[in-house]
């Protein structure tokens, strides 16, 4: 397999060496290091020796099962109902704490439940917070990736015109990208406050009908608020990538289309969009990977709360590895995240491949 790359290009390799060396030192080595640490009980600081614990960290993170709970009955065997006719169920903690009959559920906590007939099916997990962070991260990616990509494309189409002062618009749309995400998060925290700008505007436009709500303090709106802010913040970056893609499309194609009498939509559908294929793949993968790495907004705006509704995988990795000094647990989360992002990227590659 002697190719040109390995045989006749010493100078090229020499030029690449600093880059490769740094990537190896700061990305490849730490990755294998994280993989190794996730199999130990390594602490951030501790006089105790590091021990190999196998897959224990992964077991602690991922253990999940379903517990069926029958409703409570009185002496006659009749179901006990409260005033509203709801069934009474024994508490989950009676199964998961010090109950020798159910050793498989020891130390687990309720994540959510549903009812099948009178039986309550309770999903219990050893690490509910991690599962919630996984769910939040996926929800974030599912919304942010398509919406941010589409908005960025829309903006790129808008500013890809020869108008006077178009650069002002380009600068305005791109500005949030240049500002530090920490600063942006702090500002949006004020916007979202109970007596903040957003509530004032909504209240003014609805003539006082809209009552101010605490966007980041309510578990139903907190993650949505962060999604909206994140989309706004990074949309300019992807707009620029789309723009570069738009400008590689040859003007002769547009001229040909207009000679053929194509409508605006047809021009976009049959000229612009096919020309943006590779850009689209790039934008989608970059947004997905960035969205999976959601951390700074959470750290500044909500700290994962309220009730874990905004906690994310990366936030958990940092919180455990550094905050709780559990490097091995944090490493295990990082490895899981890596596998997750890798498989999703591979699926995206497969779905968007050249047919």
């Amino acid at each position: 397999m002697a190719s040109k790359l390995t045989t006749s290009n010493r100078a090229g390799w020499a030029f690449a060496l600093p880059g490769f060396g740094l990537i190896a030192l700061f990305i490849v080595v730490p990755f294998f290091f994280a993989f190794y640490l996730s199999l130990t009980n390594q602490r951030l600081i501790s006089p105790n020796p590091t021990e190999f614990v196998g897959l224990e960290n992964y077991r602690n993170l991922l253990s999940i099962s379903v517990l069926s709970i029958e409703p409570e009955v009185d002496e006659t065997g009749a179901l006990i109902r409260d005033a509203d006719g709801n069934l009474a169920y024994p508490r989950v903690r009676t199964f998961t704490r010090d109950n020798p009959d159910y050793p498989q559920y020891a130390g687990m906590r309720e994540w959510f439940r549903w009812h099948s007939g009178d039986t309550a099916k309770v999903v219990v997990a050893t690490d509910v917070v991690f599962w919630k962070s996984l769910r939040n991260t996926l929800m974030f990616v599912l919304v942010v990736a398509p919406v941010q990509g589409a908005l960025a494309l829309g903006l790129a189409l808008l500013i890809n015109q020869k108008l006077r002062g178009i650069n002002i618009y380009r600068a305005i749309y791109f500005m949030p990208v240049v500002v530090s995400i920490v600063v942006v998060s702090l500002l949006w925290r004020f916007l979202y406050a109970e007596e903040g700008l957003l509530n004032s505007i909504l209240s003014a436009f609805s003539f006082g009908l809209f009552e101010g709500r605490d966007w980041l303090g309510d578990e139903n709106t907190a993650l949505g608020a962060i999604k909206a802010m994140s989309i706004w913040q990074a949309v300019g970056f992807h707009m620029v990538i789309w723009l570069s893609g738009l400008q590689t499309i040859s003007p002769t194609l547009y001229e040909a289309a207009s000679i053929e009498g194509a409508s605006k939509w047809q021009t976009f559908r049959y000229v612009t969009w096919p020309g943006l294929r590779n850009t689209a793949v790039l934008v989608l993968i970059v947004i997905t990977m960035q969205a999976f790495a959601l951390f700074a907004q959470i750290d500044v705006m909500t700290n994962g709360g309220p009730l874990d509704s905004t906690t994310t995988v990366v936030f958990q990795a940092v919180e455990r590895g550094y905050g709780k000094q559990d490097i091995s647990g944090g490493s295990a989360i990082s490895v899981i995240l890596f596998l997750l992002v890798l498989s999703i990227s591979l699926i995206q590659r497969y779905l968007t491949r050249e047919k």
């Binding site: 501790s46 309220p306 000094q325 559990d326």
Partner: protein, 419 residues
Amino acid sequence: MKLGLTFGAALVASVSWASLAAAQTELSMWYHGAGNEVEANILNGIVADFNASQSDWTVVVESFPQESYNDSVVAAALAGNLPDIIDVDGPVMPNWAWSGYLQPLTIDESIIEGFLPGPKGYWDGQLYSIGLWDAAVALVTRQSTLDALGLRTPTLDQPWTGDEFMAALDAAKASGNYEYPLDLGMAWTGEWYPYAFSPFLQSFGGDIVDRSTYLTAEGALNGDAALAFGEWWQTLFTEGYAPGTSQDPADRDTGFIDGKYAFSWNGNWAALGALNAHDDTLFLPAPDFGNGPKIGAASWQFGVSSASEHPEGASAFIEFALQDKYLAAFSDGIGLIPPTTTSAAMTENYGPDGAMAVFYDLTKAQALVRPVTPGYVVGAKVFEKALADIANGADVADTLDAAVDEINTDIERNGGYGH
């Protein structure tokens, strides 16, 4: 030839520099107070006095912002770059001592006999750190508020009971004059939660860990007392007595002064601002929920790092800094509680008739240090999250159970933290 001469001269010069420096051995010191000019001036004053007072040591200070200070020390320890003298937050000290970052102090212990208990950092029977001040928390309100609501003024001997406290909050709520009756400072995340709120739990009879063994939190953090505390804690927010975790930090800083809150649970560092705004500001003792009124103790303290090759010099500096005039200077400069009666008498605010003398008495009467264990660092984080979750409506028993499990797993994985 010429080159050789120059080289030789340079060599001679560098050797003579080295011998000059050897007269005074340099001691490096790290401090958490970067950005606070008053604090830096006081510390630099002490350092200058110390360097001038003897000819063996020169202390050189490097300051860090408080938010990144602990991270810097941990990173330096991992990299083997610790300075000689470090300051350390009281409850974190056992963790660093256990991890081998600190070595015991070799100061004359008779000097610190008269100190309040909070500033003395003992771990494993040895003195590892000593503070030049302590901090305390009080229930801040105004005499006019108490009068208007018809409430008894609680004293150290007769603090409010839990029922009296809740009756006071009810009265404030019923008056309709306040946005919320009570400001707990939920906007201050981090160490504020365990520092300010775990004393409530302790007053109920619970704790973050079982202090008899330090090996489990079972029963302490999820026993009957802790459940009662948790239910009470939750009602503070569900019944609208106090603003929750999304409190605006600006309201925390000025809400009480602006009259938004009838009572504020706040530290001595904020006391001067309240006094300047309202002459009739009162600092009331913590209510007694059954197991005695409690407040937190221990603030930043000085210790000697294990990497120091000159612990005797480092200890000499710390001993030097413990003079009453410096303790008083810190108190006057940034409002901290002086740790001795003699230094308190020298201060503006903590003397016998000082405006904030009540904090000294509060600390003396009610202070309880946070659990003295290396595991506190993790326990504090778990406690903070549990309290935030309960405030946001999570099930009390389940949340405390989960917190217990997390703390116990951590203790187990650390081989009992040396207890």
